[in-house]
Symmetry: C2
Subunit: 780 residues, 2 copies
Amino acid sequence: MLAYNVGKDDLKDWLVAETAFNVRNCGKFETIMSLGNGYLGIRSATEEKYCNEKRNTFVAGTFNKFDDTEVSELPNCADVTALKILINDVPLNLNKVEPKEYIRFLNLKTAELTRRFLWETQETGIISFESKRFVSLSDLHLIGQKISVRALSKDVTIDIISGIDGQQTNSGVQHFSDGDKRLFDKKCLQLIQTTTQSRIDFVINMVHNCFINGNKLPDNGRIVMDRRQVSMEYTFSLKKGDELTIEKFASIHTSRDREWIDKEYSLEALRERSWRELVDKSGKGYEYHAQESARAWSQKVWDKANIVIDSIDGRDQLSVRFAQYHLTAMTPAHDNRMNIGAKGLTGEGYKGHTFWDTEIFMLPYFTWHFPEIARSLLEYRYLSLPGAHKKAKENGYDGAMFPWESAWLDEGETTPVWGAADIITGKPTKIWSGFIEQHITSDIVYAVCQYYTITNDQDFMDKYGYELVLDAAKFWASRLEWDEARQQYCINDVVGPDEYKEHVNNNAFTNYMAWWSINKAIEFRDELKASRPELYNRLDEKLGLENAYMLWKERVNKIFLPQPTKDGVLPQDDTYLSKKDIDLTPYKNQTQVGSIFKDYNLEQVNQMQVTKQADVLLLFYLLGDLFEEKVKKASWNYYEPRTLHDSSLSLSTHSILASDFEDKKLAYKLFRQAADIDLGQNMKSSDHGIHAASLGGVWQCVVNGFGGVRVNNGILKIDPHLPDEWNGLKFSIIWRNDRIRVEIDHKNLSLTNETGNNKELEIEVRGNKVTLKNELKLSL
Amino acid sequence: MLAYNVGKDDLKDWLVAETAFNVRNCGKFETIMSLGNGYLGIRSATEEKYCNEKRNTFVAGTFNKFDDTEVSELPNCADVTALKILINDVPLNLNKVEPKEYIRFLNLKTAELTRRFLWETQETGIISFESKRFVSLSDLHLIGQKISVRALSKDVTIDIISGIDGQQTNSGVQHFSDGDKRLFDKKCLQLIQTTTQSRIDFVINMVHNCFINGNKLPDNGRIVMDRRQVSMEYTFSLKKGDELTIEKFASIHTSRDREWIDKEYSLEALRERSWRELVDKSGKGYEYHAQESARAWSQKVWDKANIVIDSIDGRDQLSVRFAQYHLTAMTPAHDNRMNIGAKGLTGEGYKGHTFWDTEIFMLPYFTWHFPEIARSLLEYRYLSLPGAHKKAKENGYDGAMFPWESAWLDEGETTPVWGAADIITGKPTKIWSGFIEQHITSDIVYAVCQYYTITNDQDFMDKYGYELVLDAAKFWASRLEWDEARQQYCINDVVGPDEYKEHVNNNAFTNYMAWWSINKAIEFRDELKASRPELYNRLDEKLGLENAYMLWKERVNKIFLPQPTKDGVLPQDDTYLSKKDIDLTPYKNQTQVGSIFKDYNLEQVNQMQVTKQADVLLLFYLLGDLFEEKVKKASWNYYEPRTLHDSSLSLSTHSILASDFEDKKLAYKLFRQAADIDLGQNMKSSDHGIHAASLGGVWQCVVNGFGGVRVNNGILKIDPHLPDEWNGLKFSIIWRNDRIRVEIDHKNLSLTNETGNNKELEIEVRGNKVTLKNELKLSL
């Protein structure tokens, strides 16, 4: 049972809680309560083990490829969280005997996880249990746990086995070679593991401190080793009323850590240093480190991007904080060689790969609040140009063809080739996105330009941005196919955002975005050639701009751009509108996504007018200026009923467009649905990990949709559409280095430049240009 | 709870039962009830999954090495036994709600596993459940299951998910590359997996037949694929009183199957043939195949080696049947390229490797009852001479130095290098047996000679036996070290059978057995040279016998053979008797083996007069004729109190010697202890698999100990020592192609030559030679 309203006073709308234990919901709470700091992420499996748990620990960017039948994926490294507890020889197990007063909650503010309950069996009497856990944001390698057990009704003997468990796999796939196991100084456990193919060393340390009634006990555990496991075993005698407390600190370091970019890597030195450091840190105790981490969350996240929603339903506030929490926990802000996985660091789903989810759905959050993190994420794309060149070359194209799924910088495409079963043929379905879902290259260009517009970060553009855009345009120019009949350039045989339409020609989203990308390249090239000769020459030398430019100019205006029908509907592709319509009611009302595949296989779905996710409508959101209002509206009316939202990337776009169309009710409903993908009562939807892009989408619903923050021709535009359910919305955004506070209610819009630099900023509100100097209050 | 007395009438002392479900005992029952046919073995995990289960399926001889940090091991292939059952959406789980009238039993006679219980929850009402399972002995690739669920008190909806699950690992180690998954003909699931390093293909098929109240339902399951998994999902509506029955057939074939020795391997052909065959077989139904398998058990095992114990405690009869059952289930009798693992095919312990356990502990069972199987096992050693040569070469020796742990024929040593933690240093302990536990080479020689003596199989000797003995002697001659002071050849720096004494010089067992082996080689060489010139020349050419012989003759009588002290105690090695004695009482009374390591590390134990397992005493058992009775007795009195029996290979030897010493009470007590290693109430002792050698030992206690069957100078000797707890003992043995029935009670010994050939056999009973023609009754 997921509860939203557990936090009171200071903690109101900060706590995500589970108020009754049900082993069937393991996956849900492991995911939504998972802890992370961008360097590492840990699913919140309970201390005691259950059969259907998924105990994952990931370190960002440590990909490994098991063998040639698999693709690179983020490996599930050794677990440090589990703890076996026997009380009078009875294993603590809430499945066997139900707990009382059970609660587990994640405090989004402090990023600390707490779990409490009472447990009673004949053998043990009444036991009170509490555990706390954090993954530190102030010390990226540190994980802390504190477990307290109190014997309330009789004397008990407690056995604890706690250690480092390297038997973890990614659903059966073992990515690590077994390494050395050791106990140092009778105090610090250490286990080494090395990824089998990418040869990344993981050094994992663990220290325990044990207390009875607050008095520290001597280190008298017994070391136990098993295959890929090293643990300590403790036995404690508790008198009735005594409380046993175990503090457990773990650290994870790898040979891919940023520090080794500048310094010669030495496993021996890392081993020695890391265990000694952990012993030192453990001396300061759990609370010290938990507070340090909480302080980092305040300083790095909440103080900077505090979004306040005054709503009749506290879940709205909680949802946006939940999105912000996870967007922080999952994002490797510390290292530009890494990006965000489609499930963050919270599950094995999508193997830790980066998709367009970053650029189109999550990046705006960072661009508007934390531009330095947005920059790091875009730098990852720059650093992964070798992979994009590789993919282009393999496919016979020029320039940068970005992989649909990205892992290593130089690896190129990492999309698996085979997916779920085809219900008709009994064979696995081929996943075409890695071959022909090509809009990702434009999506990156779009994000670079959006970042540039919002931040004015010229240094980024000079070093990375221009090159990315120009290199991408080279790809698109080579990708275009001359259609003799049309006398135009087409883009055939693709998958657009709507993945229920494979092998289509001239997907509107793909074609418009490619056309737009080439135009951007032309624009940048012209600017650079005119005013930045040194930079131009450098890029020309690298990319052969003169030839490329000729091709762009020759082709860009001959690209086939689908045009609206007489009814104003923009065709999603060459054939969509001629496909058969079926009654989608049962699938529109589905409780689980993908229900249509219980009746049809993908080949059949391909032949129907049914859309998985926002496609044409997303194009309107991204490049709205290109289309007339009536085309947007007619297309909305056409596609919305045909869209199943079977992708978690869909609802937020529809919510924002509904806001634009002033359909507040629908906008709010879709926002709530988007927020409920992970934070709702569907206990199965999050098993494989958090829906990272959807969280970015939730934020966009709030700031870009309800808040109405957009950019129009380089000008900041704010057109609020506050839902009727809300009384107010407040947030700050960073616009070109200025921090602007936006406060909205149903009557007024208040803008404050918190930077305090007296700069005059031109802003567009409700179609009118206004000038913000320090503060501005406008009636809506 | 393990129950022994469940079987009545025909089934008396045939059933091993679990009469109350406790999830903590999973490991115990998975092991002792595991099913197998020598080709494949499956731990008997329950249909529904539990957290601490170990769901293993092994195919003999399919070793794989994960990487260079690991050794070759038998990989845990895809599971076919699990079944997820939801009744009115409640998952069947006996941990959550306790069952009533629970029983699970393995019928040793038919090798069928049955499980039954009633289960009641509010949502489901009362449910009766029954499952049956077999691994066919008549069709080595076939596994059958039958699950029946009856809704006793209300209408229910039942969801079943059942399939092939390739997410299994060996404690986290994944030995397989993922292969194709498919549903053929809407009927047969197929999953392919290939070992990562040895590249063995596994083709696994599964067919389901579903019935309600005996009426077969159409095949209308839904296929579900996940990572390394392919399953069928079914939904059934049951009216109150209805019974759902699911028959589930699986087949496993591999590219290492014997058939591919003579025929070109084709994965495609195997895939096609195997799924079609399984569909055909499934048509005959579960009962047909279960009965075929049971018939094979009767014909191949029980009719041939029926041992009858008339005891006041039925467990004695059950124990020897249990031993016979598992010795059959674990032994790859079908393929001489394979041998028996130290845990059979019942667990990951010892990685499927073959030890001296085969030759010294298990082989006698086969030699006396199934000489063709004994021969196949010895042929494995012959075929693995390339590995033995490799090991000798790597260590700088000549001839055949057999590996302590053996997997592939040409691989040589496969003992892992690192073991459990040293409690003092915190580092893993080095496992020395792979380097210096060298008596295995003599153990094989001993077994060859014993087999030859008992069977007179001259064909075996000509093809394999002589060469094995001669090649082994070459090793031993090169292994001897000249001791200048002693003016004798020593064997220094070894581990003897007592593994608590590492790096000792002149371990009595090792030296005597080496000396004996060289003498055997000399004897065979002399015989062959004199009377089998052709064979002699072939072997001389292969082995360089002339040079080898010179060395043997020169050295054999200069080998240092430890001599008894003035008290008649044969020193275990050069230093044992001078080491310190400690009070061993707490460890002699231990409930778990290895308790001494809670107080001392191996280095410390090395310095004490404490013995892990029969060492000198085993020498007396194997080469009894070499030692005077008073030396044996004095040594027994010395070593027995100092032996902790921390190896399961120890108790049976002590029991047999106690029988020899007429200490019937102790002999029986030690027999029971040996039988209880797996079949006792210790719920933890069998977690990693069955104690294969101990089962051979249990049989030896009965036939060689209580039955008193031995060979003395080539003559069959029968000196029964029936325990007071027994009224009689009956068994048949094969002596040189004659099948002799032995019936013993406290007064008489009856011998019958069941072969009916009127041959006159000279037999020694109680020191007197008697002649058996057809039948002979002797008073004892």
